[in-house]
Symmetry: C2
Subunit: 216 residues, 2 copies
Amino acid sequence: MTADTANQENASRDRIEQTILSAAEQVFSQHGYRGASLQAIADQAKLPKANILYYMGSKQALYVRLLNRMMNRWNAVLEDITEDSDPGQVLSDFIRTKMMLGQRYPEGSKLFAAEILAGAPFLKEYLAGELKEWVASRAVIIRQWAQLGKMDDVDPRWLIFLIWSATQHYTEYSAQVTGILGEEALSEADLASICQFLEHVILKGCGITSSNATSH
Amino acid sequence: MTADTANQENASRDRIEQTILSAAEQVFSQHGYRGASLQAIADQAKLPKANILYYMGSKQALYVRLLNRMMNRWNAVLEDITEDSDPGQVLSDFIRTKMMLGQRYPEGSKLFAAEILAGAPFLKEYLAGELKEWVASRAVIIRQWAQLGKMDDVDPRWLIFLIWSATQHYTEYSAQVTGILGEEALSEADLASICQFLEHVILKGCGITSSNATSH
DNA sequence: AACATTGTTGACCGATCGGTCAAAACAATC
DNA sequence: GATTGTTTTGACCGATCGGTCAACAATGTT
């Protein structure tokens, strides 16, 4: 096997795996782990069921792989902030980035939501470990901002949860949102309007005077 | 059959039905419609599977009945407001009531969330009908408040969605929240703190000067 | 006591579940 | 062209799915 053919084969394998992962993400996100069937995933991927198992090993392995892929996409948010950062700028970015991630990976976001709804059987460790530390470390910095008079002295944990929930709502509850708005899907104008609203309310609500809010 | 025995029989029937509904709510809320099995519900209710079907007819009928029961619990919120109402008082009540409902009916709330995640196959009509009209009518009044200078001119729809998402988060994502906080469940102190935070940020963020915020 | 109604439940149905396997198809090396 | 390794896939496995049914208790009603 030459390096060339090896690359070709790996590329082919990757393409098929991506097809399967994409199909599985759709099915799992709609019906959760228990409610999803390998047959439904196979139909979505337009492959025989046995082929799914050949590439992914088992239903559980496929599911865990999807969860990990989604977790990796969420890194690098609020990562490089310090007590010197501008809260308005940082929170503004946070809101826009979270909103963008939800729109970019709607199925992945719903998959995560379904996992949490089920009691997070596969993510308990991650939540109580990595993510807990991440929140705690961000909270320390936000508290420093408050002590420096940059913003109101609100509980940073509730603030983080607020931004998470407010942004995720538009992907995970998209069926409700579009039903109420009477639209097929959220338009670009809607999204811009929502971002602006959330920035306005949350920044102002935290006592942050946005000096240069529109500097993107 | 005397009126007395009729009552007794109906009471017995009701007790069993409530047992089944409660068990089903737990199972459906964790695993969604597809992922829930009648056997799991029967085990939870400590009844033979055939008995579940005797009382409920079918899996779908049981599920729809649970959804309707949950919808009814959500009525009477923001129902009797006018342009003369005090936005601070109304939104404050809205936040507290929503938060309380989520804590009172956690399984029902998760059931609703799972239904929306699946694309709202059983609630599409309700969302695009009743609920859409409800939101639209509330939006009119909130816009009037803004025109009267009682609050900032924010999009009422986004405001309603914000309060929905922020409050529901603590029941539907309870696995994530408790995992991050490192607690078994949210304490009363946590809940009070969260309510206070949400009131502070949302009211202030909407430009509402809470004159008499603590008059409950 | 005889009868009718309602409640209970194990046994069973065809369909589908996640997963295995072997035979065939395919590709690469000698 | 024989050999070796990798994909592909229909057939199949025991278990479980939602749902039916008949036999049987329990409970009025007369």
